[in-house]
């Protein structure tokens, strides 16, 4: 049976860094959506909205971070198992609401936090099932 590569502190921190980067990208996306001044999408304002979004420099900062993050994930995959990387990657679902509170002044309720926690458990289960299958296949 193939031995699963352990998660070193270094890799762990790199994944958390990748999570923070992606969360930052999402904040930039949301900020540029707010900057369009359009707070409700209708059929009539859809095209002006998309045009405004893509002409916003803030959005392009977000897209640039996203692409960099993609390359970073490539490097992470080369050093660890997907089944280990994925649950740590799901920390993004906790970082994004924290960032939303600080940078977007959103009100994150207790129900929302509870839901997020349940989602993380689900992602953990899903990622563990993949590792099980993989180990079995390679045995």
């Amino acid at each position: 049976m193939k031995k699963i590569k352990p998660l070193t502190l270094k890799i762990f921190l790199i994944i958390i860094f990748a999570d923070i980067l992606e969360s930052a990208a999402e904040i930039f996306f949301k900020k540029s959506a707010l900057a369009t001044g359009i707070s409700d999408i209708t059929v009539r304002n859809l095209f002006p909205f998309v045009f405004k979004m893509f002409s916003s420099p803030i959005l392009w900062i977000g897209i640039f971070i996203y692409i960099f993050n993609f390359l970073l994930w490539m490097a992470i995959y080369s050093r660890t198992e997907l089944s280990v990387a994925f649950p740590v990657g799901s920390v993004i679902y906790i970082i994004v609401p924290i960032f939303s509170m600080f940078f977007l002044h959103e009100n994150v309720t207790l129900t929302r936090w509870l839901g997020i926690l349940v989602i993380c458990v689900g992602i953990y289960l899903v990622s563990q099932s993949t590792s099980h299958e993989k180990v079995k296949n390679e045995a």
């Binding site: 999402e26 959103e106 839901g115 349940v118 989602i119 689900g122 563990q128």
Partner: protein
Amino acid sequence: MKPKYFLLLIIHEIFGTAEQVILKKGINGLEKPKFKSFKDCLIFVRNILMAPLIWLGLLFILAAWIFWFTVLAGVDLSVAMPVDSLQYVAVMISSYLFLHERMNWKKIGGVMFIIAGVILVASS
């Protein structure tokens, strides 16, 4: 979360999921990457940029992004992001249907948890 935005999010997820399946099909068609060094990663990136299926996938990414942005226009990020995890569910079902990946109880259990969490977040 208004039904309209839920619908837009679902369209985003459909494009996002199709994108994942197309990318996976495209990548499956390439020679298996080694990922032993950063150079391997760069070779892999070069290989994927030469595959037509990957470019189709990139078009789907663009469409998925546009719908994601419309969701962000009307929904808090701290709601939209967790609800977006429904994509795990959609990707799993499509992997089963289109890529013939196996289903097991852990996956199904995980999916149940994700759906329960999404319902909590979306109703908050």
